[in-house]
């Protein structure tokens, strides 16, 4: 079954064709990064305008590059939950138009559910159940994946998302936007133990996260030096900051895996592209006899292939939507398959 996916929840306009939830035939991602860079973050109105300009092109390109035509498409999956409302509305309007015109099922997908499926698309051998850490610039969540479309939310950030902390530190150090790749790169040349930054809520008896205090600690430690025109040891700051974030993410995920006696961890979302995070997870999981999986790099950040894969799974369970499908910018991932 051929599913066309559409994802416009933030600043990537994306469309993809996925066969049977497994085989990715195309995954077109038009990034708007250049438009938002000068503002140091995603500007919602600019994002929504760009989605409207690009949406038709990415759908056509997803079809063309897969060698398919619209008549081959058997269902439309679209991100309808979690994201910027103006951006979501564009993708959902396009999805409804296609579903109506082609008379094929429409499936609304939660953006986070999409990220969970990104890793399943990359690594079909990931078994059920498993522990999933999904972490990006917009969210940080620990999820117990009981089965396809059956989730238990175990923990989530109480303030900044992990990727957002990367963005804010990069902005503070004048390194540009987004912060993830540049800090990852700088950190390879820095000393991870140069600064002992706080590991927020590392030992707390909760699976929730907090990264706002870490950000503030770094800003307070260096703002006077910046004001005095001192040259900062950027590599060391990047490496030490990154190590603090990685420590917390890995420790909490591992704690859940051990509690639940899980043999598999899935790490997904934009931050799962971070090289140090992958390295530490691989090391520790090897020691503990746990298999850890990461998506291929093109599936870490927002993309429509993961939405098509999640949509296929929902369709198999009869979870389709009608033309009144709501756009909900802010709603928890549904738990235990409840709808």
């Amino acid at each position: 079954m051929l599913v066309l996916g559409i994802e416009t929840s933030c600043d990537e306009t994306s469309s993809a064709l996925v066969a049977d939830g497994r085989l990715m035939l195309s995954n077109i991602i038009a990034t708007q990064l250049d438009l938002h860079q000068k503002y140091g973050g995603v500007v919602p109105e600019i994002a929504a305008r760009r989605h409207t300009e690009l949406i038709g092109y990415v759908i056509k390109e997803a079809l063309d590059s897969a060698g398919k035509i619209l008549a081959d498409v058997e269902a439309i999956a679209v991100t309808a939950k979690q994201g910027l409302v103006g951006s979501l509305l564009v993708g959902v309007a396009a999805a409804k138009s296609l579903s109506y015109s082609l008379r094929i099922p429409l499936i609304g997908v939660h953006h986070i559910e999409g990220h969970i499926f990104a890793n399943l698309l990359s690594n079909p051998q990931i078994p059920m159940p498993h522990v999933c850490l999904t972490v990006s610039g917009g969210h940080t969540m620990l999820v117990y994946v009981h089965d396809y479309c059956q989730y238990e939310l175990l923990g989530s950030t109480l303030d900044d998302a992990a990727g957002e902390a990367f963005d804010k530190i990069a902005k503070f150090l004048d390194l540009g936007f987004p912060g993830g790749p540049v800090i990852d790169k700088l950190a390879t040349r820095g000393n991870r133990k140069a600064f002992n930054f706080p590991r927020p809520m590392l030992r707390a008896n909760t699976l929730d996260f907090s990264f706002s205090g870490l950000k503030t600690a770094i800003i307070n430690a260096f703002k006077h030096k910046i004001a005095d025109g001192e040259v900062l040891p950027l590599e060391d700051i990047a490496a030490s900051f990154q190590e603090a974030v990685v420590d917390v993410l890995v420790a909490k995920t591992l704690r859940v895996a051990l509690q639940r006696k899980a043999s598999v961890i899935s790490v997904t979302g934009g931050v799962s592209a971070n090289r140090r995070l992958r390295e530490v997870f691989l090391d520790i999981c090897q020691q503990e006899g746990i298999n850890v999986f990461f998506p291929e790099l093109s599936l870490c950040t927002d993309n429509a292939a993961m939405i098509a894969a999640a949509g296929y799974a929902r369709l198999k369970q009869g979870k389709t939507d009608d033309l009144n499908l709501d756009v909900i910018p802010n709603i928890p991932l549904e738990v235990q398959g409840g709808s």
Binding site: V43, I55, A94
Partner: protein
């Protein structure tokens, strides 16, 4: 030529179908919180009421705005993706022209006015009747009513949902009894969009299906958004 026209620039769903000069359907659904999510379902409703299917439609028209930025994005996206999917032509019609068409039988200057939703800013333009339809005579206007009144030199008919109050304000601003002003009530109708789109399409004035974009008339206030926007605001209420 059967043309489906939609306009969501004012959050309401205006949907109409014409066949040449004949109106086959013309519905306006009140603006509600979820209006934009209902546009495709309402198109289905309107077509069914007119005993038509989407396959009967030979072209699509859409009100490009100006108006609600979110609204015109949804309208333009629906129109162009329906056209792309059905492999039919599409034509965008400025919503100000759709409004001006309501006053096409009035001689003299026609000035549609749309509330820009920010303070006392309005979108406006000037049209004259020509060949049974209307044609724009100058640039689009974005600004306050005082500024608009300063460029009014001839008898003018104002059109729009709030034309009465705008007409009164402009009359006060002008303070001159020599210029005859009148107000014509009107909202953008789907059938009018369809009719004006049909005229364009019959003249081969199709818009490009993939690149069709709304008529915002204002740059996004990007900087104002930066400080207000925090990606974590969404994550905070996750649990």
């Amino acid at each position: 030529m059967k043309v489906l026209g939609i306009d969501t620039s004012g959050y309401a769903n205006a949907i109409g179908v014409v066949d040449g000069n004949r109106i086959l359907a013309d519905f306006t659904f009140e603006a509600r919180k979820d209006s934009l999510e209902k546009i495709v379902a309402n198109i289905d409703f309107a077509l069914k009421e007119a005993n038509l299917t989407l396959e009967d439609i030979q072209g699509f028209g859409v009100g490009l705005g100006p108006g609600s930025w979110t609204g015109i994005r949804v309208g333009v996206t629906v129109a162009k993706i329906l056209a792309f999917s059905a492999n039919k032509p599409v034509s965008g019609v400025p919503t100000l022209e759709v409004l001006a068409y309501n006053a096409r039988n009035i001689p003299g200057v026609i000035c549609p006015i749309i509330n820009a939703g920010a303070g006392d800013t309005v979108y406006a333009a000037f049209y004259r009747t020509r060949d049974g339809t209307v044609s724009r005579t100058g640039e689009y206007y974005v600004g306050d009513i005082q500024g608009l009144s300063e460029i009014i030199k001839e008898p003018t008919a104002f059109v729009g949902a709030e034309s009465q109050s705008y007409c009164r304000l402009i009359s006060q601003a002008l303070g001159s009894p020599n210029i005859a002003l009148e107000a014509v009530e009107g909202v953008p109708r789907g059938a009018t969009v369809a009719l004006l789109a049909a005229i364009r399409l019959e003249h081969g004035e199709n818009d490009d299906v993939l690149s069709l974009a709304p008529l915002y008339l204002k740059e996004s206030t990007a900087k104002a958004f930066v400080n207000r926007y925090s990606r974590s605001a969404q994550a905070k209420s996750q649990v």
